[in-house]
Symmetry: C2
Subunit: 348 residues, 2 copies
C-alpha cells in the first residue's frame, strides 16, 4: 500500500481537478490510499461522486487554501499549520503519507516543504526534478527552478539525487549523468560546472555513471538519463522546450486545416496524429519532484486537468513505491563516507 | 551596393557549400559584390562554374584554413593575418567589405573578430544574436554564447544592441525588449537580471520599449521583439529549442510512416507538410550576428548547406544595408550621453 496525501485546494481549478484525478489514479493503482486536505464545503459532494475514492481516503477539513499568486512568505504566514498545502506536506513528515502531491503555486509549496520537512543531512538546497520526454524515452532534468545558481558541490549533490531518482524511476543500476554546459567557448562553461565535472569524476561513485558535459540539444535526444544544471538555466530550458512544442503544434494545426487536401490527409492520418498528440501530451510528464528534503513532495502543473493530475500522483506513487528518499539517503551517505570533508550546511 | 567578404574555407564542408551559397544569394540580390578568401586550388574551378558570381567577386588566395575543431587560441596563433577567416574579417576593418560571413568555428571566429575589429567604445563584451522564429514572425535573442555570464550593465548593453538590430532587421521604431528570467521564485531571478531591468526602465530610452521579464516559453510565442540574456542561458535555450524541434520532427516522421492510412494521409496533406517543413527549416534562420564590434560579422551554422549559407549572407546583407553598426553606435551614444557615468571598459 502507498499512502498519498493531496492538497485538494491546489491548482488553477482545485477540487474539481484534484478529486477526479485522484479517482483516475486509484482506478489504475487500487493499492493507493489517500489522505485528502481541503475545504469540506467545496469537496464533500465531489468526493461522494467517487465511491471507491471515498472508501480509500480520509478527509481532513482545512480552513485555509493557499492562493496561486500568493508569495511564499505570505503563504507561509497565512497558511502554515492550517492550509491544505501545509497539512498535506505535514502528513509526509508524520508518516501519515508516503508522498504529498499539490498543484498549488511552486514558490509557496517549496517554501512550506523546506520549512516543514527540512533538507536532508549534507544537502544545502533542494532541487526540483522534471521528467523530460526524449527520443529514447525519458530523462530526469534538475534543477528546474528550486534555487537560482549552484556551486560545484551543489551540482554534485544534484547529480547524486538525480541518480537516485533515475534508479527509482527507470530501474537502471548506474544511470548515465551529464552536466548541462555550452560548447562554443574555448574554456567551456562556468567554473562551477567544470569543477562539478572534476568532482563527480574524482568521486567515482558506483551509483552513477558520469558521461561528461551535454548541451541543450542533448535534452531531447536523451543522450543521458540525468541532466544536471542550476535552477535558472534549468527552468529556462524546460519552459523553452514546452514553448517550442506548443509553437510547432500550432504550426501543424494551422497547416492541416489550411486546404481541403490537407484536411483529407488529416482524416486519413488521424491515427498517426493521435499518436503524435499522445507523444507530445504535456500531461503525461506532469509532476516535478522535490529532491533533497526529508520526504517526497510532487508538484503538479497548476493548469493541468484530471488526467494530468493523475499522472503527477503516479509519479509520486512510483517514487514512494521505489523508496526514493531511502535511495537518496543511502547514495548521499556513500558519497559522504568517501569524502568526509565535503559536507553541506554543517561545514558552512 | 553591399560588399560582403566570405571565409570560403569555413564550415564542415567549405567551398562546396560557400560558393554555391554565394551564387544563390547573388541571384536574389544582384547588388551584392563579394570579396572571397580561400585556398585557390580548392576554389578556382568551383567559382568558374558560377559566371555571375565570378564577375561580381574578387578572389584572394589564403594559405591557411582554420579547422572546425581548432581552439580559438590555436586558431589565432596559426591563422592570424594569413587565414581565410582572419582576412575575411580584416576586409571589414579596411572597408573592403561591409560585412563578413563565415561558417567556421564559433570560438575561433569570435576570437579573431574581437582581435581584429575590437569592441565598440563603451562595450565591454560582444554578444551573438540569433534570429528566433516565433508564432508572430521572428525575434532576436542575445547573447547565445559569446560570453558566459553578464552583469547588469552588460545586459543593458545587449538590450541597446539588440534593439538597434531589431530596428535594422524588422524596421520597427521602438522594438519591445524583454529580459529572460524565471518566474517561480519569490525573489525572481538573478540579481543582475533584476538590476538590468531597473536600469533599462530608468534609462527610458526612445530607441526601445521595455516590456519587463519574459520566461522560456515566451521565446516561441514572440512576446517581445528582443530577448536579452547572458550567453550560458541563451546558448542552452537556443540549443534546447533546436533539439525539441528536431525531436518533434522525428516523432512526426515516424507517426506518418507507421501505417498505410497514415501514408495515404501524408500523400494528401503533402502540401501542408511542405509548409510545415518550411516553417521549421533551420536553414531559414541561419546566421548569428556578432554585435558590439567595430564591424559586422555573421556566423553561419557549420553544417548548413548552400541554401542555409545563402540565408546567412542575406542576414549580413540586411544588416549592412540598414546600417546596423551605425545604428548601434548612435543608440549607445544616446544612452551614454544620458548616463555618462556608466561607461564600459574605460571605467574599469
Amino acid at each position: 500500500m502507498v499512502k498519498i496525501s493531496l492538497d485538494v485546494m491546489g491548482g488553477d481549478v482545485g477540487p474539481e481537478v484534484v478529486i477526479p484525478g485522484a479517482a483516475k489514479a486509484l482506478e489504475r493503482h487500487p493499492e493507493i490510499s489517500f489522505v485528502l486536505f481541503g475545504q469540506k464545503a467545496r469537496c464533500e459532494a465531489l468526493i461522494a461522486r467517487y465511491p471507491k475514492l471515498k472508501e480509500r481516503s480520509v478527509f481532513h477539513d482545512c480552513e485555509v487554501a493557499v492562493g496561486m499568486d500568493e508569495k511564499p512568505s505570505q503563504a507561509l504566514r497565512r497558511g502554515r499549520y492550517v492550509s491544505s498545502m501545509w497539512r498535506s506536506i505535514e502528513a509526509v513528515k508524520t508518516g501519515q503519507a508516503d508522498v504529498a502531491v499539490s498543484a498549488g503555486n511552486t514558490g509557496a509549496l517549496m517554501a512550506m516543504a523546506k520549512f516543514c520537512l527540512r533538507t536532508m543531512a549534507n544537502i544545502e538546497r533542494p532541487a526540483i526534478a522534471a521528467i523530460w520526454p526524449t527520443l529514447k524515452g525519458e530523462s530526469i532534468v534538475l534543477d528546474v527552478g528550486a534555487t537560482i545558481g549552484a556551486d560545484a558541490q551543489q551540482l554534485l549533490d544534484f547529480a547524486v539525487m538525480g541518480g537516485a531518482m533515475a534508479r527509482a524511476l527507470f530501474e537502471i543500476e548506474r544511470p548515465l549523468i551529464g552536466l548541462l554546459n555550452v560548447g562554443v567557448e574555448e574554456v567551456k562553461g562556468q567554473e562551477e560546472v567544470r569543477e562539478a565535472g572534476r568532482m563527480i569524476r574524482e568521486a567515482g561513485l558506483d551509483t552513477l555513471n558520469y558521461f561528461g558535459f551535454v548541451e541543450g540539444d542533448d535534452l531531447g535526444k536523451g543522450t543521458v538519463d540525468v541532466v544536471v544544471t542550476e535552477g535558472f538555466t534549468g527552468n529556462i530550458a524546460l519552459k523553452t522546450a514546452e514553448g517550442t512544442a506548443r509553437q510547432i503544434a500550432t504550426y501543424l494545426r494551422s497547416a492541416m486545416s489550411r486546404s481541403l487536401l490537407s484536411k483529407i490527409g488529416y482524416f486519413f492520418a488521424k491515427g498517426a496524429f493521435d499518436l503524435l498528440r499522445e507523444k507530445m501530451d504535456p500531461r503525461k510528464v506532469n509532476g516535478g519532484v522535490f529532491l533533497g528534503l526529508n520526504g517526497i513532495v510532487i508538484k503538479s502543473h497548476g493548469g493541468t486537468d484530471a488526467e494530468g493530475f493523475a499522472a503527477a500522483i503516479e509519479v509520486g506513487y512510483d517514487m514512494a513505491r521505489n523508496g526514493l528518499t531511502q535511495k537518496i539517503e543511502n547514495d548521499l551517505k556513500l558519497y559522504h563516507a568517501r569524502f568526509p570533508s565535503s559536507v553541506g550546511p554543517e561545514a558552512a
